[in-house]
Symmetry: C2
Subunit: 76 residues, 2 copies
């Protein structure tokens, strides 16, 4: 089973990487970029019998820092 | 207009970060994780009249290294 786990910073958490990208895009002449947020993506190939609870635990224990990040699991 | 740009390593490119995550998951007792690939995600808020060509150029010039990475643009 293929999973796509998307980890993004929570709203209100400063994102200096995103700000740097936005600034760089503007420097390259791309106008109209109002906001950039940088996140992480993990593509996992797991056994078909992996439970939702186990997937959730992987995210909370390792893949995302739930103090400042949200995560979302998508099945591909 | 909200865009989600997903940058992943091309097939065949070694992914030490993914391998480290896979190893760590196994160390935490999660069996059945066959593969992990790590990627990047950028959420952009751009002007509604931004052309597809401009978005593509942003990806090729700054967001992705097309020698080793693929990118995909999703409209949210």
């Amino acid at each position: 089973m293929k999973l796509r786990i998307i980890v993004t910073l929570k709203n209100g958490v400063l994102d200096p990487q995103g700000k740097a990208i936005q600034h760089a895009l503007s420097g390259l002449g791309f106008d109209g970029v109002h906001d950039v947020r940088a996140g992480k993506l993990f593509e996992l190939e797991v056994a078909d019998d992996t439970s939702d609870a186990a997937i959730d635990e992987m995210c909370r224990k390792l893949l995302a820092n739930t103090v400042i990040e949200n995560y979302r699991v998508e099945r591909a």
